[in-house]
Amino acid sequence: MTDSVTAPKLDKPDEFYARLLTAHEGLSKAESDAFNARLILLMANRIGNLTELEALLEAARAR
C-alpha cells in the first residue's frame, strides 16, 4: 500500500516546492502553521480514501 501511495507522481517537483515556499513567504509562524493545517485538510479531502490516508500518516512517521 505504502509503495502505491508514495510512488513518485509530482508533475514538476522543483516548481511545486518553490510554490509551497512562496505560499509561506511573509507569514508568521502561527500563520504558517494555520496555512499548513488548512493545506493538509484540503489534500486529505482530495485523497478521500481512509486506507490511503492511513498509509500516508504511516509514511510521514518515517524519518
Binding site: A37, I40, L42, N45
Partner: protein, 539 residues
C-alpha cells in the same frame, strides 16, 4: 408561568409494607424515579411484571437538564405508550448555525431521511419528559397494572444476597425493610446504590463544567440551534443556544474545569454573560440557572448479581450529542424484556449478562463519540487547536470541511455487532438492518412499521409468508407477513435491498435477532434459543 417542577407529583404515602412483620419481597425494585427508572417501570408494568419505584424526592427534576430526545428515544416512548405526548409538546428543529469567534461560518438544514414516523430528535425539558412518564404510569395503574412510585422513600442501606437484595428505606414515618428479587439502580451519576455496594466507576476521561440557563425571550427568536466555537463572550470555550417548548431557550456555556462555581452562578454575572451573547437589544427573563459538572466514565460491569445499573448510574458522558438520557432509555429498552423472561422462567439468568455486554458496548461507543466531540470543542494541545481552527476556517468557504466540524454527534442507537444474542445473517440484505440493529422504521399499511413491532418477539416476513402466531419454547411469537405487493420503496430499501424476500426475527426491544431469505421453523427455533441466551451461534 406555572413551575411544573414545584408541584409534588408522587408525594409520600404510607405503604402496607411499612407495617409488615417481615420484609415484603418484590420481584423488581427500581431506585430512582428519573427518566430511566420511570421508563423501565413502564416497560415492566406493561408486561405485567410487578414493580416498585423508590425515590427520595416527590417531584420532577428542576430546570431543563436533558433537553434533546432522539428519534430512537421517541420510538421507545411509542412502545411505552407516550410517544405522542412527547412529540406534541416538543420542538422540532432542522436549521442550525455555526459560529467561530465573532462570525458565522455556515448554516445547515438537517433534512432528515423521509419515511419515518418520528423526527431525528425533539427538544423538550426533562421535567416534561418525566411528567409524561409519570402520567403514563398513572394510566397503567388505572388499568390495574402492578406498578407504584413511592415518593419520599430514600434508600438508606442495601445488603446484596445471591438471590435477592435487602433494602432499608427511610421515610418521613420511619424506616422499613423490603426485599427485591432484582434491584435496578437508576439513581443517577452520583448513584448512592453504587456507593453503598462499594462498586467502581472508572474512566474519568475528562471533566468539565457548564453553566446552563433557561431563559424566556420577550420577543420572537428563530427556532434554530446556534453553536459557537471560541466566541468573544466566552473565550476559548463553546456556547449553545437551543429552543425549548413554552418560549424557553436553553443556553449552555462551557466554563472549563478550574472555576469558581458560586461566582459563576450569581444571576447578575449570568445576565451579563447572556447580554454579551444575545446582544444588547434582546430582552429576556432568567428562569433557571445551574452549573453542570460532568466526567466521562462508566462502571466496568453493569450487572452485579441481582443488582443491575442503568442510565447515568452506570455511565456518564459529555453532553455533546445528547447521549446521556437517550442512552439511558436504550438501557431500559434492553433490560425490560430480558428481566421479564428471566422472572417468568422462560430464559436463563445469563440472558441478563447480555444486557451488560450490549449496553457496555453502547456506553463505550458513546464515550468514544463524546470524547471526540470534546477534543474538537476543547482542543487539548497547540497542534489540535491549529487543526480545529483550520477546519472551522475552511468550513466557511468549503462544504467538504463541514462534516469535520464536531459540536456533538447526535445520539443514534448502538448496533450490537458481535452480541451473543445475534443469530444468523443472510448475505445481500441491507447492512442497516443486520442482526444487532434496531429495526428501522418505514411507512406500512397507512401507518408505521415500528408501531407493529415490539413487546413480544416478532417474525417479519417480506415477500415470504410467516405464521401469524407461533409458540416455541414457551415463547409467543407474533408473525407479520408483508406480501410482495405491499412492499413500498422504503421497506424494500431498508429490509430487502436487491434480495427478493426476507424473514426477520425481531426481539421485544425491536432489535433484529436474526434474518434469512425465507421461512424455516427450525432455523427460527435455533435463533430464538440464541436470542434467549440458551445457546450460542454455531461458528
Amino acid at each position: 408561568m406555572t413551575k411544573l417542577f414545584e408541584a409534588p407529583l408522587y408525594p409520600y404515602k404510607w405503604s402496607p409494607d411499612q407495617d409488615a412483620p417481615s420484609p415484603v419481597r418484590h420481584p423488581v425494585v427500581i431506585i430512582g424515579a428519573g427518566p430511566v427508572g420511570l421508563a423501565t417501570a413502564i416497560d415492566l408494568a406493561q408486561a405485567d411484571v410487578p414493580v416498585v419505584v423508590l425515590d427520595d424526592n416527590d417531584k420532577v427534576s428542576v430546570g431543563s437538564r436533558a433537553i434533546c430526545f432522539s428519534k430512537r428515544s421517541l420510538e421507545i416512548f411509542d412502545r411505552l405508550g407516550c410517544g405522542d405526548e412527547m412529540e406534541d409538546k416538543g420542538v422540532v428543529w432542522n436549521v442550525g448555525k455555526v459560529f467561530f469567534g465573532d462570525r458565522q461560518v455556515y448554516d445547515f438544514n438537517l433534512l432528515p431521511e423521509e419515511g419515518h414516523k418520528r423526527p431525528a430528535f425533539i427538544n423538550l425539558q426533562q421535567y416534561y419528559c418525566e411528567l409524561f412518564l409519570v402520567e403514563r404510569i398513572r394510566a397503567l395503574q388505572a388499568e390495574g397494572k402492578p406498578v407504584e412510585i413511592r415518593g419520599g422513600n430514600k434508600v438508606a442501606n442495601l445488603t446484596a444476597y445471591d438471590d435477592h437484595t435487602l433494602v432499608t428505606v427511610e421515610t418521613p414515618e420511619g424506616a422499613y425493610n423490603l426485599e427485591a428479587d432484582w434491584l435496578i439502580a437508576c439513581d443517577g451519576a452520583g448513584s448512592p446504590t453504587r456507593k453503598m455496594l462499594d462498586l467502581d466507576f472508572v474512566g474519568r476521561v475528562f471533566e468539565d463544567n457548564f453553566l446552563i440557563a433557561d431563559v424566556i425571550m420577550k420577543a420572537d427568536f428563530p427556532t434554530e440551534r446556534w453553536f459557537w466555537f471560541d466566541p468573544p463572550f466566552n473565550k476559548d470555550q463553546s456556547a449553545l443556544l437551543h429552543k425549548q417548548p413554552d418560549g424557553v431557550w436553553r443556553i449552555d456555556l462551557q466554563l472549563g474545569w478550574d472555576i469558581d462555581k458560586e461566582k459563576e452562578k450569581k444571576p447578575e454575572n449570568v445576565i451579563l454573560r447572556l447580554k454579551d451573547m444575545l446582544g444588547p437589544d434582546v430582552e429576556f427573563d432568567l428562569e433557571w440557572v445551574s452549573i453542570y459538572t460532568f466526567q466521562c466514565r462508566r462502571m466496568e460491569q453493569f450487572r452485579h448479581g441481582r443488582v443491575i445499573f442503568a442510565g447515568d448510574s452506570a455511565h456518564q458522558v459529555s453532553p455533546f450529542g445528547a447521549r446521556g438520557a437517550n442512552s439511558g432509555f436504550q438501557d431500559a429498552d434492553n433490560l425490560g424484556w430480558k428481566l421479564k423472561l428471566v422472572l417468568d422462567g422462560k430464559a436463563p439468568e445469563r440472558l441478563l449478562d447480555s444486557y451488560a455486554v450490549e449496553r457496555e458496548m453502547a456506553a463505550d461507543e458513546n464515550i468514544l463519540q463524546s470524547s471526540r466531540s470534546t477534543d474538537f470543542i476543547t482542543p487539548k494541545s497547540e497542534i489540535s487547536r491549529i487543526f480545529r481552527d483550520a477546519v472551522l476556517d475552511l468550513s466557511e468557504h468549503f462544504e467538504f470541511a463541514r462534516p469535520l466540524v464536531n459540536s456533538g454527534r447526535l445520539s443514534v442507537p448502538c448496533i450490537y455487532d458481535g452480541s451473543p444474542l445475534n443469530g444468523p445473517d443472510a448475505a445481500g440484505l441491507p447492512a442497516r438492518t443486520r442482526p444487532g440493529s434496531p429495526a428501522v422504521d418505514a411507512p406500512f399499511a397507512e401507518g408505521w412499521l415500528l408501531d407493529r413491532i415490539g413487546g413480544d418477539f416478532l417474525l417479519l416476513g417480506l415477500g415470504a409468508e410467516v405464521p401469524a402466531k407461533m409458540e416455541l419454547d414457551g415463547i409467543q411469537i407474533t408473525g407479520l407477513t408483508i406480501a410482495a405487493n405491499q412492499i413500498n420503496r422504503d421497506l424494500k430499501h431498508r429490509y430487502l435491498g436487491e434480495v427478493g424476500s426476507a424473514v426477520y426475527l425481531i426481539r421485544p426491544d425491536q432489535h433484529v435477532a436474526a434474518r434469512w431469505t425465507g421461512f424455516d421453523e427450525t432455523a427460527v427455533e435455533q435463533a430464538l434459543a440464541i436470542a434467549l441466551g440458551k445457546k450460542e451461534l454455531a461458528a
